[in-house]
Subunit: 343 residues, 4 copies
């Protein structure tokens, strides 16, 4: 079987999480998120973002987190502003529209929304009440194309949103990978302080399942449990989520895993740089999109698994390469060697 | 008060419709569309499109017609393909998303969708089941920017849709105005034969309210009355709709009114041509979008009412001028004179 | 053709309304409810309920009014409390569920909700967040079975709702008929002061179409125009609604029409009393439900049209008889004579 | 800490499942349910129900399974028939209404729906299109109150549903416990053959999370993956579900666990019988509802945890006692001893 660089959810979970599941297996606990582990994990998040009132909730996956947060924050006639590359737009089977909301798109080359892009959407929605009211800005950090928002960019964006009475929601499916980029100058606290709500991804950073939804703007989360239950997202054995986040938070495991994923990916990026490959986007994270000759892609595909992302022209295409918390040095070295052998 | 060229719903209804309302006022009739007038009007539509099985329904307005048709035809995960300028996208407060469906946009200069534009959307929706399934193409004839689809264009579009298992729905808020363009080579029958369902607008062509929804593909309409009722669109006194369409259909009044609206508008267009104005779109119908010096716009605004549609640059803007079935020769002449006086 | 006592929407509109439509037909007006007539009618409503800030809106029909009001007031996990006989429960094709809300039913013999009935629902919804949160009480006055809430009953109900943080919404499809019951001690002002929002029915009291939605609790209506547009309920020629309510309000025409409808019905009721008929409910309004021998029903059906409402047993059934603003003395006298001839 | 008889999701997972998670942890697998384990588990289900074309899908929880199945099967105006005690009615925060569908309730003493109850609902929905169309019957086996449908009852019910063009959907959150009742004469195959779709619960029978949705009527499931994704129910690491069901199916572990849960509960039931307690329902499964003196309840509560289910009168209340696959002999013996000590 070819080694896979297709995704960061190819392996199951980090050994420490596995061990915690084993250790706690026979303890009796309350259901529906009232277990001790969920409570402890929530408290650690509150402590890390320095807001003891923050609303903290655990759900299974990213699409679920997105539709829960957005449907809980918007009135029926309000819309979301998102990048064209945003996961809610392109890869969630219309989940946001299915809960009733329009997505106003911002065109972008690098997956990132600017204040100019937001303002343009606002300017096109002045015909009240014949148009939706844009109310929430959705961004992903890191983005779906591997780029990231730095602390300064986030601060600027959130300030702008607040001045326009827009809420800011950060999809953090790969938030650990963003925080792991040292020049981004991010932390959980900075993320929290510069958004109304964000989610912190477990699934793509070593958990079996699980995303932690964190409302720094705690008033927004008062009724959130109703939404979790109504949309079928409340696990009877919520302990499964709490235990995993406890482990990810312990000794900042999440950060170490994010750093590992980025580091392995950047080694591969360097190899592609070495053969003068271009990239679709400028990524410092665990997703890269090198543009290669199709003949080279075929060579690599014979030994490794990855997505061919986008046709460029008759001769070239972009591929996506992802490393995860679990990607071994050995696999990376073999891939790098294979890249170096291309000619 | 300044004479208004803002819209084609500025006056109430055509005198013949008013007279019919007077004449039938005290007759007892069944409610909810089971009155004699609705039945007769439906039969005339069926006869005109030569399909005695066609589903024919009457509702109050265009947004209502659009959301009813689209929500009745799509499964929850299916989407609509529409032009960026489409009414459902830009001016219906997210009505389609509110019934759960994503709109996939086709960029267009002239408000018209091409088969290439549709194919592009299809090509971007291959990641099953992570993306919506495009299932219905929505077009407006005439379009929201005054252009129209000719018979040949419609035939081509519908053939393409059928080959791709896409349904075609025509928003006919201004369908009479399209049919009234003789070079378009259209008729109710041609519209019906080249779509699965369309609606025939009354409100913008002389009725008080009312759009007739016509399914030439009659199987699609079996359950439609449930939708009409559930969405609050079923009038207890459905006679109000039936009576009006009976009058619009009698001696092809609808066509004469559409022709009048176009003719009056084109006189004004000629006047703008005479002063070498450019236009946003090439329109043969009752909506035109001349681009004028802002100083000229101010002069015209002092005597007439119309929309300033779009800023072009510091000096120029486009305005929208609409004539209706009711626009008088006198008003047109005065407007034309005012245009000629601009310098 | 047999004279119909089936409904109060069997004829078109009151002659004064018809005349007003004729008189205003050619006046140019702004669209979408910004016309002069809507403004004037709204102001008269505000004046009658002595709240100049009240939100007043006009829509086409009752199901539409119900789904608009309810969907605008409830969060996605909140529910409506309604009588089992409530129109939203039994005759609106699931319109409320279609906008996402559960209806919690109160069993009732006479179509009226009591505070005990509401409390029972509240007591059954304590398992947070596994159950919906009851938030709005929906009542109809007069009810769907002809009964009514008096001033004292309404005051008691509203006080209770406020103490429980429940909103009260009155479906007034036949509100004029309720106000026309003098012993009920009602008025528009009393209705407004004892509810958060109500609608005042035009369709069943002499208008062609039209229900006026009135929020005495004006804060609740800030975003209401968005809902009207999004659900397809905003008429381009909103004047059609404004003109009709102006006429219904002029010299309290609505009240005179309601009194007429009740009076004609009560004459028929007296006739049924005269032959010792029982009734399903004790009605003082324009709907009665006498229980008759099936053979007698057949005799009456040969000359008059009405609904057979409910099978009682092998020999008896209840029928529904309704008079409207338009029911003639002649028709009533003939019906009374026919009743007297039964044996 | 007091031993808990509150629920069957109080412990985590069966040791064999835990071991399988450990064993497979580092294997690379495709995401989104395309892993080997999901495929194998689905094939075993197909083999057990003797329908190799059956649609088999894995999701996280019961509310999710219910809303997915129901929203995928119903048109917007169609409704579900359910018992008043049905989980979708009473404990899912309006999840079914939130996806747009009304629930038509059948009153029942024992949590079970009869053909008479269904027929009564059908008889009350004849006013087309002013009412919803009942289309799907939802039952739970075992029911929410511990009772069960036997093979004969199911066959009768399904035959009736088919004759009325109604779909039958079985909520099998505790299906293993039903099959484990030998006099019920059930099996996976019999369940499948006597329903259009059912779900087989993992969460309440030894899994961490997971319900397997099985469409014996395979045509109904063609588009189901779109629903799973759109509602946020598709796990990136679907392997977590596949692995667990593989273990539950291996050597019919599910059945052994169901038998254990029932057996432990019935021992406790016998103890209550021994002190002449009455029960709310006649249960042979792992949920019992003994009616006890409140003073006795307090005594038991001092040592054990369970729900006080329902106030009976000033002196008596019903409690709910549940045993699971994990309930130890020791705990049962202590509880039985405590019951015998009551006086």
């Amino acid at each position: 079987m070819r080694y896979s660089f297709k995704n960061d959810y190819t392996e199951a979970c980090h050994p420490k999480i596995l061990q915690a599941l084993v250790d706690t297996n026979s303890v009796q606990q309350l259901g529906y998120g009232f277990d001790d582990y969920c409570k402890q994990a929530a408290d650690i998040f509150r402590s890390k973002i320095k807001n003891e009132k923050a609303g903290v909730f655990f759900v299974s996956g990213g699409t679920q987190a997105n539709l829960l947060v957005i449907s809980s924050l918007l009135k029926p006639f309000e819309s979301v502003i998102a990048a064209q590359t945003g996961h809610i737009e392109s890869n969630e089977t219309g989940a946001i529209e299915a809960v009733g909301h329009k997505i106003n798109l911002v065109t972008t080359d690098n997956g990132k929304i600017t204040t100019e892009g937001i303002q343009k959407v606002l300017d096109m929605h002045l015909n009240i009440p014949h148009q939706v009211r844009p109310k929430l800005v959705y961004i992903s950090n890191t983005t779906e194309v591997g780029t990231h928002y730095s602390r300064a960019e986030l601060e600027n964006l959130y300030q702008f949103c607040q001045s326009k009475k827009l809420l800011l929601f950060i999809d953090g499916a790969r938030l650990s990978q963003a925080i792991a980029i040292s020049e981004a100058d991010l932390s959980l606290e900075i993320i929290a302080k510069n958004s109304d709500v964000f989610y912190f991804g477990g699934t793509k950073n070593g958990a079996l399942i699980g995303e932690a939804i964190i409302f720094n703007n705690e008033k927004l989360s008062e009724d959130f449990p109703y939404f979790i239950k109504q949309k079928g997202a409340m696990l009877a054995k919520g302990r499964l989520l709490g235990i995993q986040f406890l482990e990810l938070l312990k000794d900042d495991l999440y950060l170490k895993l994010g750093q590992h994923a980025n580091r392995q990916t950047q080694k591969i990026k360097n190899a592609f740089d070495g053969i003068k490959a271009q990239f679709l986007t400028d990524s410092s994270s665990n997703q890269i999109f090198p543009i290669l000759k199709k003949s080279h892609i075929e060579v690599l595909q014979s030994k490794f698994d990855f997505y061919v992302w986008k046709e460029i022209d008759a001769d070239f295409a972009a591929i996506r390469v992802i490393c995860s918390w679990a990607t071994t040095d050995n696999a990376v070295e073999e891939f790098v060697a294979a890249i170096h052998s291309l000619k």
